[in-house]
Amino acid sequence: MEALFATTTGILAASGLYLALRGRTFPVVVGLTLLSYAVNLFLFSTGGLTTDGAAVISDGAGKYADPLPQALVLTAIVIGFAMTAFSVILAMRVRGDVGSDHVNGNRVDEPREDKS
């Protein structure tokens, strides 16, 4: 199960990064979102993978899931949304002002391979 979980996180991270390295804004934003899912899953798993753990303190409960990573990830999800929103709207603004959706801010909206 651990290997499965880790592999999934890795594949999500790889896909996210590949998209984040693209040259157009929308795939980059999608990539960052995907990357943040991977990171959230990763962070969440640092508390261990608990099956059927209790989420709420009660007398009869057996083992509890680690609450700390959950609290961290909960805010991370919301902040991740804010980040996605900001970057995608920045991308829209750039397209409006510059006329191109290339991340390097190329003014002319035509294919260009940047030198690097």
């Binding site: 880790a6 990064l17 390295l21 693209r22 999608v30 959230n40 099956t51 829209m92 397209r95 690097s116």
Partner: protein, 932 residues
């Protein structure tokens, strides 16, 4: 206390001249002189005690964490320098009063001068290395102001900049050296450092520390190869040169050598580095002093030469040599300050300093001639004057040195050559200026300068003579006290006298004077010889180097920061890969000792779907809508994963956020190109795939390694204290609103700021609105689907009720402000989608920005509220509420905080989406008009 006065009075004095005005120059000069005069009197009152062997010290703790104390001391060495600085400083104030022209801003000049005086006093009296360094840098800064005082002249600006660059760079090296010494010794306290010589010399860090300190001292004292800034600094007004470049600023370097002599000297490294640098500088400076044509440049090179002499003496690791060095500091300060002032008088009265034009000035200014002759003779080392004594001591010391072993005779021989050159340039300075025919091509007829301008020179010349005639009576006490401070053991007994009998040093002195005369007579041959060399302008070379440095920096910036986001991303990823890859290689096995849990079929299917959707998002990215749908599948699966692994709060949050994110991205996609053009080259794709695969591999390995290792979590604390300490059974929520409430406050603030930022980004945004999709199919003309409209409307109260329910139970069951806020936001957004922005805005006629801001404010005020009851920020209370008529109710203040979170989430989310939605409508009416 009096120690503090000596430093602070001149500092106060730097403000006083600003009270005066340029018109009333007497008053301005008098105002300036008051404070240093008092400081001098205070010093003189301390003098008998210091000469008797007391070392008054004073310390206030300043920044204890850095080992920085405001600590001052007045030992013999400090005393000698304080007397020099204040004494010559007062003479300079008098001289400058008559030197400065009407157009010069006198108050500003005096203010700079006093600032410089303060920093110089600080250097010599500092009892803490860091404090010393601070004053050291202050001298660099204030000398920059003084050298560049005539800022309308290009030469002054460039000279000042060069002096600042060289001495400032040396200052930074000095700081590094001091920090190393401080680490070796464990303290920056001067006395502790001076007492720890054995520790310092034995430490492997001794050599780097020594090199750095010497770099600082040599740049300041214009030692070879850093001598070039001093002649360029001659663009300064002459009083500045007379003060900075004879008695003070350049002496700071040799002062430092004397000050740290007890701590750093005695090693072979010190012997060779310091004495050879000094020797080379002495010869170099003396040669150029003989060649140059400008009076002040001649004096500048002679200063370089004399500083080299002093440096060499400090380097010889001999006690008597240190005494001789200190003695020469004193003597050089007196005759060189006087000579600079005569050069200033000549410049002032003749309008030129070119030695070729000046001749026979004795007819016009007899007194200046006499004074210049006396002081130049002192510089040449003529008997019965002070320069003779210290120079003879120097020659005697070079005979004793073990330096260079079998070639040790070279040192006295070279020192004698230096003295010959000194005698020659001194003779040239006097004879070519004041005698040897009549002046030619002078712009004005020279006459004697006003007496107050000659008075300081007179005073210094008298000092030269008195010290020369009665050395034992005048100088012994001060010298012994100063040498005691610069030596680890009591200074050797001094026998200062003019006549020591016929001996080798006397012979060398005689050779120097006779040889100087001969060199002077034959100087034309030397000049002819020198003309063969191409002339090198150090200013041009320096400026060229600065320009090259600037160009290199510009080139580096342009290369590194080329505006390509892709490249920045690549470098960030590569660094992350390297760092985490290295640490992964550091662990022995990937799998830890924890037992592996069995995977059930459902989980395998879930993981497969997630992986497929993730990969599809990446591979289909050029078809953006499909990519987005795949992304939403990943989000949904993540939500299920949270639910599967006992995190209901996360599952709810992820689900709600997922909905909002996809709506947002769909809306944004409407305004962006529907497809990504094919533009990445094959090699680029291979590179990115490799990077991504490497990154994914590292992430997966890290995750696996982490999951299979036992966990040492601090969560037990939260589990234990959640109910008794936070009054809530849902630990996640209690952590968010109570234990780590401050973090949450920060996070909702970020959310709110992001919302406001987006609001501003969307302001006046004009975007092209496509009327058809990428395939060319027109968008559906049906504005809003009927079914969705009616269902959403009936769902709204239910959804709001659910969100209130989730909010209220959040403290004890899965839920809370974040989730409730998202649910509310989703319900409201559904109204926008179903009915359009205009419809929704008519009914929801309020702004969302104030809601988000109010949310943050409520959360912050809840935190502040605990101050009122005397608790730290954000301390929560629960169960202590008595509401009249209803009775005791168990309520936590955390609930109020959570309300703030709720409002921020609702406000920010709607601020983002509703404002984005508005962009779609703002164009529509005009579009319809176009159609019509």
């Amino acid at each position: 206390m009096s120690l503090l006065l000596i430093v602070l009075l001149p500092l106060l004095g730097s403000l006083l001249p600003l009270l005066g005005s340029n018109q009333r120059r007497h008053q301005c000069a008098l105002l300036t002189a008051v404070m240093p005069l008092i400081a001098l009197l205070v010093t003189l009152r301390e003098t008998p005690g210091v000469l008797a062997g007391d070392v008054p010290r004073l310390a206030f703790s300043w920044v204890p964490a850095l080992g920085l104390d405001l600590a001052l001391r007045l030992d013999g060495l400090s005393l000698l320098f304080v007397l020099l600085i204040l004494g010559i400083g007062l003479l300079i104030i008098l001289y400058a009063r008559h030197y400065l022209a009407e157009a010069d801003n006198m108050p500003r000049f005096y203010a700079y001068l006093m600032l410089f005086m303060t920093s110089m006093l600080g250097i010599v009296m500092a009892d803490n290395l860091i404090l010393l360094w601070m004053f050291w840098e202050l001298t660099s800064l204030s000398s920059f102001l003084l050298i560049g005082f005539w800022s309308h002249q290009s030469a002054a600006r460039k000279g000042a900049r060069m002096a600042l660059a060289v001495t400032g760079m040396g200052g930074l090296a000095l700081l590094a050296g001091f920090i190393l010494i401080g680490q070796i010794v464990g303290s920056f306290d001067m006395q502790t450092v001076l007492d720890s010589r054995d520790v310092i010399l034995a430490d492997p860090r001794y050599l780097p520390a020594l090199l750095l300190v010497l770099l600082g001292a040599f740049t300041k004292s214009a030692q070879f190869p850093f001598q070039f800034w001093l002649p360029q600094a001659m663009a300064a007004p002459t009083p500045v040169s007379a003060f900075l470049h004879s008695a003070t600023m350049v002496k700071a370097g040799v002062f430092l050598l004397a000050r740290l002599h007890p701590a750093l000297a005695g090693s072979q490294e010190w012997l060779y580095l310091v004495s050879l640098t000094g020797l080379v500088t002495m010869l170099f400076g003396a040669y150029f002093a003989l060649i140059k044509l400008d009076l002040k440049t001649i004096l500048a090179y002679s200063t370089v030469s004399h500083l080299g002499l002093i440096t060499m003496l400090f380097g010889l690791n001999s006690q008597m040599a240190v005494v001789a060095g200190i003695f020469h500091i004193l003597n050089h300060a007196t005759f060189k300050a006087a000579l600079f002032m005569t050069a200033g008088i000549i410049d002032h009265e003749c309008g030129t300093r070119d030695i070729r034009k000046l001749k026979g000035l004795w007819r016009y200014m007899p007194m200046t001639t006499a004074l210049a002759t006396i002081t130049a003779a002192a510089m040449a080392g003529f008997p019965l004057l002070n320069g003779f004594l210290s120079k003879e001591m120097m020659l005697a010391e070079t005979l004793e040195t073990p330096l260079l072993g079998g070639l040790a005779w070279l040192i006295p021989a070279l020192a004698t050559i230096g003295s010959i050159l000194a005698a020659a340039y001194s003779l040239r300075y006097v004879r070519n200026t004041f005698f040897d025919g009549k002046p030619r091509e002078l712009e004005k007829t020279p006459h004697e300068a006003p007496f107050p301008m000659r008075l300081p020179v007179l005073v210094l010349a008298i000092v030269c003579i008195i010290v020369g005639l009665f050395p034992a009576f005048i100088a012994t006490g001060l010298l012994t006290a100063a040498a005691n401070a610069a030596l680890t053991m009591p200074a050797p007994e001094l026998h200062l006298s003019i006549w020591h009998g016929f001996n080798l040093p006397l012979l060398m002195s005689a050779i120097a004077l006779v040889g100087g005369l001969m060199v002077y007579v034959l100087r034309q041959h030397l000049f002819t010889f020198h003309r063969q060399f191409p002339s090198r302008d150090s200013l041009a070379i320096f400026e060229g180097a600065v320009q090259r440095l600037v160009r290199f920096t510009q080139w580096s910036i342009d290369t590194l920061e080329n505006g390509s986001l892709q490249r920045y991303m690549l470098w960030v990823v590569i660094s992350a890969l390297v760092v985490s890859g290295m640490s992964l290689m550091g662990i022995e096995t990937l799998k830890g000792e924890l037992a592996i849990q069995e995977a059930d079929p459902l989980l395998i299917v879930g993981a497969a779907i997630t992986c497929f959707a993730g990969l599809a998002t990446a591979f289909l990215h050029r078809r953006r809508l499909i990519s987005l749908i795949m992304l939403s599948v990943v989000g949904l699966m993540a939500s299920l994963a949270f639910a599967r692994f006992s995190a209901p709060d996360l599952a709810l949050t992820q689900l709600a956020v997922e909905v909002v994110t996809v709506i947002l991205l769909m809306l944004a996609l409407f305004f962006l190109p529907q497809k990504t053009p094919k533009e990445s080259s094959a090699s680029r794709i291979v590179r990115d795939v490799l990077m991504a695969a490497g990154f994914g591999g590292v992430v997966a390995s890290l995750n696996y390694a982490l999951l299979t290792r036992p966990l040492n979590s601090i969560s037990d604390y939260f589990l234990e204290h959640s109910v008794p300490g936070g009054g809530g059974h849902n630990v996640v929520n209690v952590i968010l609103v109570d234990f780590r409430g401050f973090d949450t406050l920060g996070e909702i603030t970020v959310l709110c700021i992001a919302g406001i930022g987006i609001y501003k980004l969307l302001n006046r945004l004009r975007l092209f609105m496509p009327s058809s999709d990428s395939e060319g199919r027109p968008w559906s003309p049906d504005r809003y689907p009927m079914i969705l409209a009616s269902v959403s409307q009936s769902l709204l109260p239910m959804a709001l009720l659910v969100s209130v329910f989730i909010f209220l139970r959040g403290h004890n069951a899965p839920g809370g402000g974040f989730i409730a806020g998202l649910v509310t936001a989703v319900a409201l957004i559904l109204m926008y989608i179903a009915h359009g922005v205009e419809w929704a805005q008519q009914r929801l006629s309020f702004q969302y920005q104030p809601i988000a801001v109010a949310g943050v404010a409520i959360a912050a005020l809840t935190g502040v509220g605990s101050w009122v009851f005397g608790y730290p920020f954000l301390t929560s209370a629960f169960g202590h509420f008595h509401i009249p008529l209803i009775g005791d109710v168990e309520l936590a203040t955390a609930m109020l905080f959570d309300l703030g979170v709720y409002l921020t989430v609702v406000g920010a989310t709607l601020m983002i989406l509703a404002n984005l939605g508005k962009v779609t409508t703002s164009h529509r009416p005009s579009k319809q008009k176009e159609k019509a």
